[in-house]
């Protein structure tokens, strides 16, 4: 039944792990927003955020990125031409997304090599046949002249297309990493602060140990190991996207492992302070169970710490991706990402004449997103941090 629908459309959806998680995150955020809207005391700090024009502009910029990223998170595979011998339908090994459909113009206009932004001719000389029949070296005309807003790269692919496709990678790393590490950090941090004793010792031991390993090296070690696993089990993956996606997911997990310690320590400290409060003692006196005290009285009162750290971490993680890809332990080399773009283009500055547009494009796209995230997180932190509030009131 389902198969016949796929055959009719000529495409079959491909559910990548990160796609599922991304849409799950969207659902969580949607739920969170509708939950907050009904509670005025939760809405109050957001009112303060919405009063800041800077924050609203940054949010608008971020939303543009999010829409691009979400469009790029619906994957499907085209069915191949049916052969008369086999009845079974085969699907392309290359996955496409909704974003690819929208950008099919610039995606498919295949040039041969470098061309500068909005150029008519190729950037490099080739031997071509002139009209009078003689052969000479010249700059040949492009397939689609003046249509590449940001030029094309070494193999003739549109740079704007690459930059747009990289948006998803950046967003996935910035958000999923936090999503993955959040349950551990919140659970362990609150438990350590609330129960103290041996649980506290265990949690502290765990995060000191993880902290003592230099982050990049731990990530490098883990990614190298995952790569060995992927290479040894190549048959598990039908498409290159699935293979790259598994590596991306593990990169998020391992980044989460290295970055949850900071939040965990903050939460532990905050819970230690909260558990001495009068209202917690009162709850104890009334015979409220530990679990209920944690979920009803402690968790809501540390949520601002969680929120601030989530927003603050985002831009750092996006920047980290570029560095990791340069080291060779970032996302899969076949995946579009700003890190891979920079890595591929860094030697182009040494060319004569200089090929500058790939670097400029990745710089602009990354800088805009990180700057917007930084500005937005500053405002959020000021609105939610009670300490900063009191300072402002003085």
């Amino acid at each position: 039944m389902v198969d016949s629908i796929y055959a009719l459309i000529g495409a079959k959806p491909l559910f990548l792990w990160t796609d599922i998680l991304i849409w799950f995150l969207v659902a969580v955020i949607f739920f969170g927003v509708s939950y907050t809207r009904r509670r005025p005391h939760l809405l109050q700090p957001w009112r303060r955020v919405s009063k800041s024009r800077l924050a609203m502009w940054s949010l608008a910029v971020l939303m543009v990125y999010v829409v691009i990223g979400l469009l790029d998170s619906i994957h499907f595979r085209y069915s191949l031409e049916e052969s008369s011998v086999q009845k079974e339908v085969h699907y392309s090994v290359e996955a496409h997304t909704l974003l690819d459909l929208l950008l099919s113009d610039i995606r498919d206009s295949g040039e041969k090599s470098y061309s500068s932004p909005m150029a008519k001719n190729l950037f490099v000389q080739e031997s071509i046949e002139r009209e009078d029949g003689s052969v000479g070296r010249d700059y040949p005309l492009l397939q689609s002249a003046e249509s590449h807003l940001l030029g094309t790269d070494k193999v003739g692919q549109d740079v704007l297309y690459q930059s747009l496709k990289s948006v998803r990678t950046g967003l996935v790393i910035g958000t999923l990493t936090t999503l993955i590490m959040l349950p551990f950090a919140v659970l362990l941090g609150i438990m350590a602060g609330y129960y103290r004793g041996w649980i506290d010792d265990m949690v502290q031991y765990t995060y000191t140990t993880l902290n003592s390993i230099p982050g990049v090296l731990l990530i490098a070690a883990a990614i190298l190991m995952i790569q060995v696993y992927i290479d040894n089990n190549a048959s598990l993956f039908e498409t290159t996207e699935e293979r790259a996606d598994l590596r991306l997911l593990f990169l998020c997990i391992i980044l989460g492992v290295t970055s949850w310690t900071g939040l965990c320590r903050l939460l532990r400290g905050e819970t230690l302070k909260l558990r001495e409060m009068d209202y917690i003692s009162a709850a104890h006196a009334f015979g409220v169970s530990n679990l209920r005290i944690i979920t009803r009285h402690i968790l809501p009162n540390v949520m601002h710490v969680v929120l601030i750290s989530v927003v603050l971490d985002f831009s750092g993680l996006v920047l980290a991706e570029a560095v990791l890809s340069y080291v060779g332990v970032g996302v899969d080399p076949t995946m579009y990402s700003w890190g891979n773009m920079i890595n591929g283009a860094r030697l182009e500055m040494a060319r004569e004449p200089v090929v500058w547009w790939t670097l400029l494009a990745s710089f602009l796209f990354m800088f805009t997103m990180v700057l917007a995230a930084n500005l937005f997180s500053d405002v959020v932190r000021e609105a939610f941090d009670p300490r900063l509030q009191s300072r402002g009131d003085k």
Binding site: N211, S212, P214, V216, A220, A221, V327, I342, L359, L371
Partner: protein, 324 residues
């Protein structure tokens, strides 16, 4: 004294944890068989070749528990015991190309330090200076533009500082070589560009960090007292606030001090400096697990030394803190 001793003892379980984690990553997730197959080429590998590869490196023992041995040897004749013991004795063994990892690390420490130490010292001084200036001129347009500038600087990837800096200074102005390294006095020419870029790329987050520390101190009572005594703003800032802010500044700075030995991955590999950072990158690219494992362990040891130094330095700056 007994405190220091206890802290050193406390470091051992942490190192054990690090060791277990790396062992798990490097030997359990992928067995030596997998690694052998990858090193020797994916296909057309005979069992003999794998066994030879393992024997060469001493990886032919069982991982966790030796069933064939007797008594305590059941535990000691295993990969986990022998490999852990080697790390704790700082015997890192040989890299895949046959060079001694220990000697390589010793040789490469010098170049790493010659980059990392100047970046660290000049960086801290610059950041504190800028942060003090911003706090001194607080609530003016000078501060506002300073805050905006730090956010902008923070939003630029470290890679672009290096690429841009190399392009401007090395290629367009032909002032200093783009990359490379020589020992001795001549190294100055090679060091100056990476150091400058290292300092500049750290300004954004650094200045912001010190500024929050200073602002926090400015809100305290002793500052109000000092002002009430009629001291000039300059004197309050440099004699009172700066001294008290030394405590949080030290916490941040001393921890990273031992890690300077590890060098900087990105800076070193971009500028072709033969330090430990580029050593690690080369190892990662060559998939040389022995080197990566050694560097992970070394990094953890240095970090723990950093924590210890932080505790000790507290007593030096803040007479109120007593070790107990």
């Amino acid at each position: 004294m007994s405190y220091i001793f206890r802290r050193i003892l406390y470091a051992f379980p942490i190192l054990m944890g690090v060791n277990l984690l790396t062992f798990f990553l490097f030997f359990v997730v992928n067995t030596p068989d997998d690694m052998a197959r990858m090193q020797l080429g994916m296909k057309h590998v005979t069992e003999e070749a794998i066994d030879n590869w393992k024997e060469e490196r001493g990886y032919d023992r069982p991982l966790l528990w030796n069933v064939t041995a007797h008594g305590s040897e059941q535990f000691t004749e295993t990969l986990i015991y022998i490999e852990s013991l080697k790390l704790f004795k700082f015997e890192f063994g040989k890299a895949d190309d046959g060079r001694s990892i220990g000697r390589d690390i010793e040789e490469r420490m010098g170049p790493s330090l010659s980059i990392a130490v100047p970046i660290f010292i000049i960086g801290i001084l610059t950041n504190i200076t800028f942060a003090l200036i911003m706090v001194f001129f607080r609530s003016t347009y000078l501060e506002l533009s300073g805050v905006v500038l730090t956010v902008v600087l923070m939003s630029i990837s470290g890679l672009f500082y290096i690429i841009g800096g190399q392009f401007l200074v090395g290629k367009m102005m032909h002032l200093v070589p783009i990359s490379g390294y020589v020992g001795g006095f001549d190294s100055f020419r090679f060091i100056i560009l990476p150091v400058a870029i290292g300092v500049i790329s750290g300004i954004g987050s650094g200045v912001r960090w010190y500024r929050t520390i200073f602002l926090e101190e400015m809100g305290k009572d002793y500052v109000r007292t000092a002002r009430a005594k009629g001291l000039s703003e300059f004197r309050v800032l440099f004699h009172h606030v700066l001294r008290n802010a030394m405590i949080p500044i030290l916490t941040g700075a001393v921890v990273v001090l031992p890690l300077l030995f590890m060098g900087s991955l990105i800076t070193e590999s971009f500028f072709g400096i033969p330090g430990l950072g580029s050593y690690t990158i080369e190892a990662i690219n060559a998939q040389d697990f022995a080197i990566v494992r050694a560097m992970v362990f070394l990094g953890a040891v240095l970090y723990i030394i950093g924590l210890l130094l932080t505790d000790l330095s507290y007593t030096l700056v803040d007479p109120r803190v007593k070790l107990s």
